[in-house]
């Protein structure tokens, strides 16, 4: 009977109910899309750092890795530690080129795992580093720079010769430029410096000991395991917080829509509520009725929103410029959290109408027949 009463009331004002469902749906879709895209971007940036490594070492207390300075000889020293299999210095930089506002530059050594793991569509990996002026482009960077192997391309204020083009599934790498570390140091005026050292251990169980040794030996540095880095890196935290805040604002608006619908629903049904009270409905039963309607609107909105969000992400993924940046498959846990937030928003929106409804006095509404 509860369901019947809920469905009856929602279908009585279909347009109003649909607008309310749409409000929640678009809020959920926006939240899902924004957070998924940002999580995808964060994940991809993390992957760049953790490519075939478990630990990243960088300058303590910097707000952004681009500002981190780690002497390359530290990497050489670490590589000699018994628990370390490999320690690679990486220098990050951002430049503009022509109509491209941002191109990420990776200053890496010739034996860097990123170069080895990628699929080279042209050029020879063995040539990387032999020419200090030779760079390797990601496939998307090559496309927007209209460059082929052998071409001279403008990267910021200088020109470099393309010695290879590689394809990766990572948007940052695919739209980026790989320079020999030495060339990158010269270009960014960071002689003998890198932004971070990526470390692969012989045995992952040695991570705690490695971190302790870094803290002891290099007090100005910090060593974090990949998951710790993703969790604690301030830029990621700002991005995630922004995504949740933007999504939260959307949901708040959706919740206000539900509140408005429920208030209208209660105000236009005072007499009906009075009738229900007169036939024996308790205040709690009336409250559950209003709450049930709100949950139904929120649940429908959440379901529609998850669907719209997933479709939107797939559409975004199909845009070439976003290739590699958009993760089209939202994490189930994120979907559950967003859906739960939508339901909570709906419940919050139902509080005032519910309180109003349970206070309706039958006699007041029925007296004026």
């Amino acid at each position: 009977m509860y369901m019947r009463l809920i469905v009856t009331n929602l279908s009585r004002h279909r347009v109003r109910s649909l607008i309310s469902v749409a409000g929640i749906a678009f809020s959920v879709a926006a939240m899902l899309a924004v957070i998924t895209i940002l999580q995808g971007a964060v994940g991809m940036f993390s992957n760049i750092l953790s490519s075939d490594s478990q630990i990243i070492v960088f300058e303590k207390d910097v707000s952004d890795l681009f500002f981190s300075n780690v002497p390359v000889h530290d990497a050489v020293e670490m590589a000699a530690w018994p628990q370390v299999e490999r320690a690679n210095p990486v220098l990050f930089g951002v430049v503009t080129s022509g109509s491209q506002p941002i191109i990420t530059c990776f200053g890496v050594e010739a034996d860097d795992a990123r170069l080895k793991k990628a699929t080279w569509t042209s050029g020879n990996p063995a040539n990387f580093g032999s020419d200090e002026n030779g760079v390797v482009l990601g496939e998307r960077a090559a496309a927007f720079l209209s460059a082929s192997v052998g071409d001279l391309v403008p990267i910021g204020h200088a020109r470099f010769r393309v010695v290879g083009i590689l394809k990766t599934s990572n948007g940052f790498e695919d739209g980026g430029v790989f320079m020999p570390l030495k060339a990158a140091q010269n270009y960014f005026h960071k002689e003998q410096m890198s932004s971070a050292i990526t470390v692969k251990l012989k045995n992952r169980d040695d991570a705690a000991e490695f971190k302790r040794r870094v803290a002891r030996q290099y007090p100005e540095m910090v060593a974090l395991e990949d998951e710790e880095f993703s969790r604690s890196y301030s830029q990621f935290r700002i991005l995630k917080a922004t995504a949740w805040a933007v999504g939260g604002c959307g949901l708040l608006l959706g919740g206000l829509g539900v509140a408005n619908t429920m208030i209208m629903s209660v105000f236009t049904r005072i007499r009906e509520i009075a009738i229900l009270r007169a036939v024996g409905f308790s205040r709690a039963q009336i409250g559950r009725l209003v709450l049930g309607e709100s949950i139904a609107v929120s649940a429908l909105g959440a379901a529609a929103g998850l669907l719209i969000g997933t479709v939107a992400l797939n559409l975004l993924k199909a845009i070439p410029a976003l290739h590699g940046y958009v993760d089209a498959s939202p994490h189930p846990r994120l979907m559950a959290v967003v859906a739960a937030l939508a339901l909570l928003t709906g419940l919050a929106g139902a509080i005032y109408p519910m309180v109003y409804a349970v206070r309706v006095r039958s006699v007041e509404a029925l007296r004026f027949e």
Partner: protein, 234 residues
């Protein structure tokens, strides 16, 4: 049980108003002024009087839909002075029939009638059987699945009677139940009300302007200016 709250006894009135006062708009509209009134078990009582004399208000107070400013309302000996006392009253003891049917238009006849049983948490199957019995008695069996908008005025009021009787209340309160019907339909509804009240063994208290109907009740009580008019009490 506290004696001041429950004076249940076999010969005690089922409905009792003791020195009941009620006004609206913070005293600007006095409606009931010291009403003393009792209805005994299985009586059919007509409450007559001009519009605004307080008939409906007295019915609402006796049925637990409202509370007096002063005075005491007892139903089956129990003082009705709180939500805890009113809720079981509305669910099990009293059935209301209003002047306008007060049914939910988007629900079917069956759904409307099942509302009191649902509110009281009665067994669904038993409630449906009860409804079939009442529908047969009121000639509504063929209309059970119809929405209220599709029913005639008489059918709506008969539906309201069915709903009022769903939970087998011992007391039926009817507030001008034929007031919105034409003469012929009104007479049919009144006949039905008297008949089912008798068959169910229910006490009937009915506010009405129709003297003819009132005279067919076992007792007629006049109200004037918020008071029971003792001079014409029948």
């Amino acid at each position: 049980m506290n004696n001041t709250r429950n004076t249940s006894a076999s010969n005690a009135p089922v409905l009792l108003a003791e020195d009941v006062w009620k006004d609206y708009d913070n005293g600007a509209v006095p409606v009931l002024m010291g009403v003393n009134f009792a209805v005994n078990k299985s009586e059919t009582v007509a409450l007559c009087g001009p519009s605004g004399c307080g008939k409906s208000t007295l019915l609402h107070l006796l049925g637990g839909l409202d509370e007096p400013d002063r005075g005491v309302i007892r139903v089956n000996g129990t003082m009705i002075d709180s939500e805890d006392a009113r809720l079981p009253l509305l669910r099990h003891t009293i059935g209301f029939v209003f002047q306008l049917h007060n049914l939910i238009p988007d629900l079917t006849l069956e759904e409307n009638c099942l509302l009191p049983a649902f509110a009281a948490g009665l067994d669904k199957q038993a409630a449906r059987e009860r409804l079939r019995e009442l529908a047969a008695r009121t000639g509504l069996t063929h209309r059970l699945g119809h929405r209220i908008q599709k029913l005639s005025g008489g059918e709506r009021q008969r539906t309201a009677i069915c709903r009022a009787l769903m939970n087998r209340p011992g007391i039926l309160l009817a507030d001008e139940p034929t007031g919105s019907l034409d003469e012929q339909t009104g007479a049919q509804v009144f006949d039905l009300l008297m008949e089912v009240a008798a068959m169910e063994g229910a006490t009937l208290l009915m506010a009405t302007h129709d003297r003819g109907m009132a005279r067919r009740c076992s007792r007629l009580v006049e109200m004037h200016g918020g008071r029971i008019d003792e001079s014409v009490r029948a």
